[in-house]
């Protein structure tokens, strides 16, 4: 199916009149390919966390939307993303995550690259024992760097290289959450989660966007943060989601709380927000913890969710906090797990040939529609 065959006018109508994205957007490999080109490549998509490259000189290969990428923290600590291929014969350079002591050596003909991407040497390229050739210009043959940006511990890439600068493209997001300027700390292995779901990537984002399902799918959460405590967030084309005026989790019997991020306004003393950053991240902002929930699209009907919880103070990594960290991570994991059956259930439901994309609640589904409108607009651009 080509974009010319898609009629998405019903999707981009105001929420009260709109229908959701058609079934093909969940069941068609062709639409999945179209979304790669139209939704992901022109935008800033999240691929992972800075904590995936925990030390200077660390490199992690990854495949994102079929692209072989190499996430690197160079020897100066700067996080970069390259295409994970040698400029010579296109060989995959790094097969496993781990430390790079000095240079990346291609396992095929041993062209060597510095971690900032520069081509350091080209052994025997001019004949045995001659590592230079007039037509092999090293300054033109460095690693293919992908435009990337780090924000709130997450690594974003713009694969087509044509998007506005991250700060300009995301001005509203950065302004709304600009108070969160403190360092983020990964504390304990339980704060990282990987969840595989048999569902299209969008369903995870759609589910996170609205609070409507909370009393039914997350009754435990609703017991202290009720549906009426929530409000919608809608910034067309950029992000949407939900906020709660109540955030006061009980993680220990004595009421102890994790240390807060410094410099936050009053809004955050009792509230929390969960914006869905377009296209593929759910974010949890709280006064004393932050998490990123990156949805990695694998196929039209398969996704992997990568979650990393960050804390405000490195002392939270200590033994004194281990039980609270464990309870906190477990609580979030239970919520994320509770969502699996609805996300996978909607995926199955999208095979119903008579389903028309769905009717939105004008009161409750504004954020979901905001996301559908973003996707529909992007694929038609």
């Amino acid at each position: 199916m080509t974009v010319h065959q898609l009629d998405l006018s019903e999707v981009t109508k105001p929420v009260a009149e709109a229908r959701g994205l058609p079934n093909d957007f969940y069941t068609s490999p062709e639409i999945f390919e179209l979304e790669k080109q139209k939704v992901f490549f022109p935008n800033w998509a999240a691929i992972g966390f800075t904590s995936d490259v925990p030390t200077n000189g660390y490199a992690k290969p990854m495949t994102f939307l079929g692209q072989p990428l190499l996430l690197v923290r160079d020897h100066e600590g700067f996080v970069r993303v390259f295409q994970n291929v040698c400029r010579h014969r296109g060989m995959i350079l790094v097969a496993e995550a781990g430390p790079i002591r000095k240079a990346i050596r291609c396992p095929y003909h041993s062209w060597c690259y510095e971690l900032d991407g520069r081509l350091r040497t080209t052994p025997h390229v001019g004949g045995p024992g001659t590592n230079r050739h007039d037509l092999i210009k090293r300054e033109e043959l460095g690693l293919l760097e992908v435009r990337s940006h780090v924000w709130m511990g997450m690594v974003f890439v713009n694969l087509d290289g044509k998007a506005q600068q991250f700060e300009i493209h995301n001005a509203e997001l950065l302004a709304r959450y600009g108070e969160f300027t403190g360092d983020l700390h990964v504390c304990g292995p339980e704060s990282h989660m990987t969840i595989e779901v048999n569902a299209n990537w969008k369903l995870a984002i759609e589910n996170g966007a609205e609070a409507y399902h909370l009393p039914w799918v997350h009754p435990g959460l609703n017991s202290y943060s009720r549906l009426e405590d929530h409000y919608n967030i809608e910034v067309p084309g950029k992000f949407c989601g939900q906020g709660s005026t109540v955030y006061n989790p009980m993680l220990s019997e004595d009421g102890r709380q994790f240390p807060d991020f410094a410099g936050l306004g009053d809004k955050w003393s009792t509230g929390a927000e969960y914006p869905m950053y377009f296209p593929n991240v759910m974010i949890g902002f709280h006064r004393n913890q932050f998490w990123g929930f990156i949805v990695e699209p694998v196929a039209h009907d398969r996704s992997v969710e990568h979650v990393q919880i960050f804390y405000a103070d490195p002392e939270v990594s200590g033994e004194d906090w281990s039980e609270m960290r464990r309870v906190n991570a477990q609580n979030w994991r239970e919520i994320f797990d509770e969502d699996i059956f609805v996300v996978e259930g909607m995926q199955k439901g999208r095979s119903a040939s008579m389903f028309d994309g769905g009717k939105f609640s004008p009161a409750m589904d504004g954020p979901t529609h905001c996301f559908h409108d973003f996707v529909a607009t992007a694929v038609q651009a």
Binding site: K102, A103, R105, C112, R120, T121, P123, G129, N131
Partner: protein, 75 residues
């Protein structure tokens, strides 16, 4: 070490993926070739040593690089 012993040791180091050992063995092979006045073989072995030095972050990186540059074989 004789050239034959060196050859066997290099194969064993490749088998063991022992990059630091490969640096020393290829550098020794380069020294041997240099004494024999075989410029091409010297630079071949220097290159091998240099590549594994780069990969392992070996302390001889700059020395090996300089020798190759002096021979006009690297940039």
């Amino acid at each position: 070490m004789t050239p034959e012993e060196l050859h066997s040791a290099i194969l064993a180091a490749h088998e063991a993926t022992d990059g630091a050992r490969l640096v020393e063995l290829y550098a020794a092979a380069a020294d041997l070739s240099e004494k024999q006045g075989d410029r091409d073989a010297t630079c071949f072995f220097l290159t091998q040593a240099y590549v594994f030095a780069l990969e392992t972050g070996h302390e001889r990186i700059e020395e090996l690089h300089l020798r190759l540059k002096d021979y006009g074989r690297d940039e």
